[in-house]
């Protein structure tokens, strides 16, 4: 029983750490499948985290906090979409600008709440277990609704991309905007919505961090998770289930960093903190080595602008 509780607690901690990467990664995956590379994930996440925390602090409602974060992320993405889709600005440069802007803007928004501790999102109730095992109950209580939502989103996005008509159109746009346009698909509208979805999910990922995972607002609190999510999308070869595997792996690396101390390993916390970043480089290297496979898996029109001819 004690073993079961230990294993479960590691699993639960891994899932909790994976959830923000899943939200942000799924959003970016959908945007990239439509052919748009948005490097602003980190910035959108930070703004989502700050706005979500602020909205919750003001209204006292988690639902409103999450909604505000989703809207803030989508608003940031709309700015990106306006520049890259409407004004045909360079996607790489605009994405970088979005991140730099988001870092500053989130610090500005979150300033009144910096370092103020808060109570986290309450856990979803787990029916039946309450009486049977207080220990298990304690562990499972850590699973907040956002963790469940993140894994549900994987199923939904996977279904959407593979089975729905709109998902098919979205993938067509990402492979060749010209062909899709010739077939009567509204290329720019689909890309705009895909980018907005990416922003909304990044905002939600940020709010997951500031309202549930570590319930507080600190400047730059995402600590590169937006960039790690971008790397995971490459690692997943643009497939939701592989993204889940990658996010869980990273969740595990993140908690291993905290568990090491508990297991009596006396290692510098600063050096342990490098683990997720080094792991990101390792998975990128592993997936990129086969250049042909990566090129075949990537949406063919990724990063290419589209100008509807009239």
């Amino acid at each position: 029983m004690a073993d079961l509780v230990l294993i479960l607690s590691i699993l639960v901690a891994t899932m909790r750490a994976a959830a923000p990467l899943l939200f942000a990664g799924l959003g970016e995956l959908v945007a990239e499948r439509s052919g748009v590379l948005n490097l602003g994930v980190e910035g959108m996440m930070l703004v989502g985290a700050a706005v979500g925390f602020a909205a919750h602090a003001v209204t006292g409602s988690f639902v409103l906090g999450l909604l505000a974060a989703i809207l803030a992320g989508a608003a940031m993405a709309a700015l990106f979409a306006l520049l890259t889709l409407r004004l045909l600005a360079n996607q790489v440069a605009t994405g970088l600008a979005l991140t730099i802007f988001g870092v500053g803007l989130s610090a500005l928004i979150g300033l009144p709440w910096a370092g103020v501790p808060a109570t986290g999102l309450p856990a979803a109730l787990w029916p039946g277990l309450a009486h049977d095992s207080p220990a298990l109950q304690q562990v499972l209580l850590l699973l907040d609704p956002l963790v469940w939502l993140a894994f549900a989103a994987v199923v939904a996005v996977d279904w959407f991309l593979r089975r729905s008509r709109t998902g098919l159109a979205l993938r067509a746009v990402g492979e060749s905007a010209e062909v899709a346009h010739a077939l009567g698909t509204k290329v720019l509208r689909i890309r705009f919505l895909a980018v907005l979805f990416g922003g909304a999910m990044a905002g939600l990922a940020g709010a997951d961090l500031s309202l549930a995972y570590t319930p507080m607002w600190v400047e730059n609190m995402t600590a590169g998770r937006g960039w790690i999510a971008l790397a995971l999308v490459v690692f997943s070869t643009w497939k939701p289930w592989w993204l889940t595997a990658g996010a869980l792996l990273f969740g595990f690396v993140t908690i291993a960093q905290f568990q090491a101390e508990a297991f009596g390993l006396s290692f510098s916390p600063d050096l342990l903190a490098t683990l997720p970043y080094l792991a990101t480089i390792v998975v990128l290297v592993l997936i990129s080595r086969d250049a042909t496979r990566l090129r075949l898996a990537a949406p063919a029109a990724l990063g290419k602008p589209f100008r509807p001819s009239d």
């Binding site: 730099i100 500053g104 610090a107 500005l108 790690i228 971008l230 490098t274 990101t280 480089i281 990128l284």
Partner: protein, 350 residues
Amino acid sequence: MRLEKREAPSAAMLWAAPLLAAVASVVLAGLLFAILRVNPFAALRLLYLAPIASANGVAELALKMTPLLLCALGIAIGVRANVWNIGAEGQFTMGAIAGGGMALALGPTGGWYVLPLMLAAGILGGMAWAAIAAALRVGTNAHEILTTLMLNYVAQDILSWLVHGPWRDPQGFNFPQSKTFAAAATLPSLWGTRLTPIFFVALLAAPCAWVLLQRTTAGYRLRVTGLAPAAARYAGFSASGTVWLSLLIAGGLAGLAGIAEVAGPIGQLVPTISPGYGYAAIIVAFLGRLEPFGIVVASALMALLYLGADGLQMHMQLPLSLTGTLQGMLLFLLLAADVLVANRVVWRRG
């Protein structure tokens, strides 16, 4: 309103766009101040004019320009060759660690040779950090945008570990900082200000970068690789050579900026040595049109935003994070204004 592609990019707009963006950013900054409930005109004066109203202010501007200029030149050379080095921040940090480590190793005594050794170590440290990304790109096809970015976080963690652990000053009252560098390991300051001679090295690096890009075969290859990768391959230009050359130059310049910062105004290793110079330099590179001389002007403007935000914090209690917001806004506006270079706006009725 509709955008129509120009036959050829507009040369006038190429240089008018950054000016347009700068003017628009001043207007937006004023609006932002109004939202923050401070007098926009007083705030704008503090932001753009007050910092350079004195000779000492101009020296401070030059001091802040130095790292931005050095990092941005490296980034621009890379982007011209389609190599996206987002790792200036980490290369800057590694330069500071390598050069600072040299200063600490040589100890409190030492002669004229200390500073050259430190500067060389700083440049090599930055180059070595960039070389990791170059080797990964060339050897394993891992894209440099993500690897250089991850290495930024790693470099910051290593610096934090060093000043909290092995390199902490035992007499430093447990503060996370190294010993202060000896006199021989500190850059001379000029005219009673904090300005160091590295500013002039940075200024000199701009024409050097121009010569490299415009007047040498290596620079020609870099530009062709960036503009037309297929043509570069056909001409037999080495793609991996381009990656190595542009990343090593960028790493060396950022490393120099890093050691100049800790051997100059800071004078020791501390956990935070850069207010995001490496990221701001990306904006500088684009604002300067990826052209060395444009970058000189752009770095002055960006340095002004840093100084101005300092002043706003001191006199109006506004947060320092305004800098990032204003910098990001400026790059957005520039990218938007750039549309006018390749397109003209056509107004249509009905």
